[in-house]
Amino acid sequence: MERFIFYILAVILIVSAIASVSSKKMLRSVIYLLFTLCGIAGIYFLIDYNFLAAIQLTVYAGGIIVLIIFSVVLIHHIEMELEVAKLSKKIIVGLACAIGLGVFLTTIYSHQFNVVENYNSVTTEQIGLKLLSYEDGGFILPFEVISVLLLAAMIGAIVIAKGKKMEDGRPKSEVLNEDK
Amino acid sequence: MTNEALQNLINGWIPLLEFTEEGSQFLNISVKPEHFHQLMEQLKSNSETNFDYLFCVTGMDWGKDLGVIYHLESTTHRHIIVVKVKTEDRENPTFDTVSDIWKTAEFHEREVFDFFGIKFNNHPNMERLFLTDEWEGFPLRKDYVDEVNMVIK
């Protein structure tokens, strides 16, 4: 049964990943990407990584995809289509992909995987404790560093969104342009 | 202000004004198109007349002449005056716009243009308002004929 579901998810993943890069319409690519991300979430669910799966759905499917859709929708008209790349570029990219796939597959098949015994699902509590622990194997430093990074991103977003400073009711840049 | 007082006041401003009260409850002024804008401006800006409320703009086809009738009221003095301007040029009748004096005139003048074909100089958007752009003729003119749609007894 699980094997069956895994294959279904794998097919969805591969097909939508290929469709995502080959679609000529930008928004469709985004939606195929969404399917890919949802498929990954499904695989996480399948191996009982519920928290990770939910994170995958919230952050990637719900957050990032919505933002991408937003930006695409704002600039992209319904009749617009992406340009088709030149044949030479196609060949180069295809070769690079084939090499990548080859390296990937050889690595996987040369490694001996062991089946985990006595597996128990990770609870949110364990994740939380691990994240905030400052002992060995704790993630408090990366956690704090990332929060500083997010703060910086947030301030940057506010500065961009606020736009130009107004001087005597006109944007500052206009005033500066006049001085030149 | 009474009609006589108004007449005496306005009479000196512009040459060739005709005053009449015959067949109307208001004081009527007829003005030549070339002095028209000047007169209207003074009627609004002069503190004794102060006609700041243009409440009716009527396009007219007197058979020979085409013209426009403006009904003006002063919100401070509460007197009413009627200004008429006319031209014999039926092919290309043109007056000055008063939409720079009263903002409401912009719409009313477009209505007059739509139905009488009277053009207004310096109007910001002199296009048909009610009828479609490809409409031929000006329906409220007396010589307008539409055999299909008009029922005339």
Binding site: - | G23, F55, T75, F107, E111
Partner: protein
């Protein structure tokens, strides 16, 4: 890459929206061409004429009695007052003095019409800002007035009760009783309106400071009625040029000086109270007498120009008749309140959001057949 070209590529285009001719907020077949920047309105251009019936041209062919019937179809929510305007013009021109009874009845029904119109406006105004229940409250009370009209003149909307020289028939025996019932009923309902909508925080936030029209602009744009009075411009025709029995009653002109949508809203609510007071002053002493004076079958107006103003629910309606002494007017012009009020829509909507446009358009209380005549 040249920086100028890069900048011009980033420049956003104007976004055009066709609001109407079929759109819930335009209340009829009005088309607004909106130029917007995101949600912010940059320009509003009304496109009119979808239901233009050329009433002015038709009037040049009709007799004066017939013209009265056409005016019902202009501002159909003030149909009685529209009728009255033409009748008054003809009566003044012919120098007919109508009986006192006619004057009083005309005034009472005129004020009932005004209340009915404001009820409908209140209902759809609530709907425009998203409160759907107001519609049914407004219609519940309007229905009572329509029932009174139906009993008196057989019609609920396009009434045709006035004729040059008086009224079509006398009032129904129940008229006084039912009107009194309505007044008593409606006095308890206006506070309900306030409870449901006026006091609501969201409503106040939607209306306050939205669509501001200064007094100077109101006059310059030829605004009239509640729209102008919300901006502090005292322009009630009933006060300044009283007609029918309006010189015998005392009432206050509803005035607000804020000039925003809320002020226009409050003016109309206040007007409903004033109309109730006018009806109360007149309803108990309708004078006995004829309900019309005899006029000739074919009315010929004397040569000349005649102008009559009346105050409809939307503002100042003017009738201008140029007569050459025949049985038809040579030229008849309706100065409709809605047309002038619409001309200021662009002025008050620019810079606001789409929601603001809808809210301030609702407070203009446009009736499209009145604009499209």
């Amino acid at each position: 890459m040249d920086t100028n070209i890069a900048n011009s590529n980033l420049k956003s285009e104007d976004y055009f929206i066709n609001m109407g001719p079929q759109h819930p907020a335009t209340h009829g077949v009005l088309r607004l061409l909106l130029t917007i920047d995101g949600e912010i309105i940059k320009k509003v251009e009304p496109d009119l004429g979808y239901i233009h019936r050329s009433i002015e041209k038709m009037s040049e062919r009709d007799s004066y009695q017939q013209i009265v019937h056409l005016t019902d179809r202009m501002d159909y929510l003030s149909s009685h007052i529209n009728n009255e305007a033409v009748c008054l013009t003809v009566e003044n021109a012919l120098e007919i003095e109508v009986p006192e009874r006619v004057k009083v009845i005309r005034t009472i029904i005129g004020e009932l019409t005004r209340i009915a119109s404001h009820c409908l406006w209140w209902g759809v105004m609530g709907m425009d800002v998203g409160a759907l229940t107001t519609y049914f409250y407004g219609f519940r009370d309007r229905e009572m007035i329509n029932d009174i009209f139906e009993e008196t003149c057989g019609a609920r909307l396009t009434m045709n009760y006035n004729i040059p020289g008086g009224l079509m028939f006398d009032i129904h025996p129940n008229f006084v009783k039912r009107t009194k019932e309505f007044v008593a009923h409606f006095k308890t309902k206006i506070p309900e309106y306030d409870k449901l909508l006026t006091g609501n925080v969201i409503f106040q936030k939607r209306m306050k400071g939205v669509g501001i029209l200064s007094k100077e602009d109101a006059i310059s744009f030829g605004a009239s009625g509640p729209v102008a009075r919300g901006s502090g411009y005292s322009c009630d025709v009933r006060k300044y040029y009283p007609y029918s029995a309006l010189d015998k009653v005392t009432f206050n002109e509803a005035l607000k000086t804020d000039g925003d949508s809320l002020a226009r809203y409050e003016v109309r609510i206040q007007e409903m109270w004033e109309s109730l007071s006018i009806i109360e002053q007149l309803i108990d002493n309708i004078p006995e007498g004829d309900y019309k004076v005899a006029t000739k079958a074919v009315i010929k107006l004397p040569k000349g120009e005649f102008y009559q103003k009346v105050e409809t629910a939307r503002g100042e309606l003017g009738v201008f008749i140029n007569s050459t002494g025949t049985k038809n007017p040579y030229r008849l012009k309706f100065r409709s309140p809605g047309f002038s009020n619409l001309s200021l829509l662009n002025h008050i909507a620019v810079g606001g959001k789409i929601g603001d446009l809808v809210a301030s358009m609702a407070t203009l209380d446009l009736v499209i057949p009145d604009i499209d005549r």
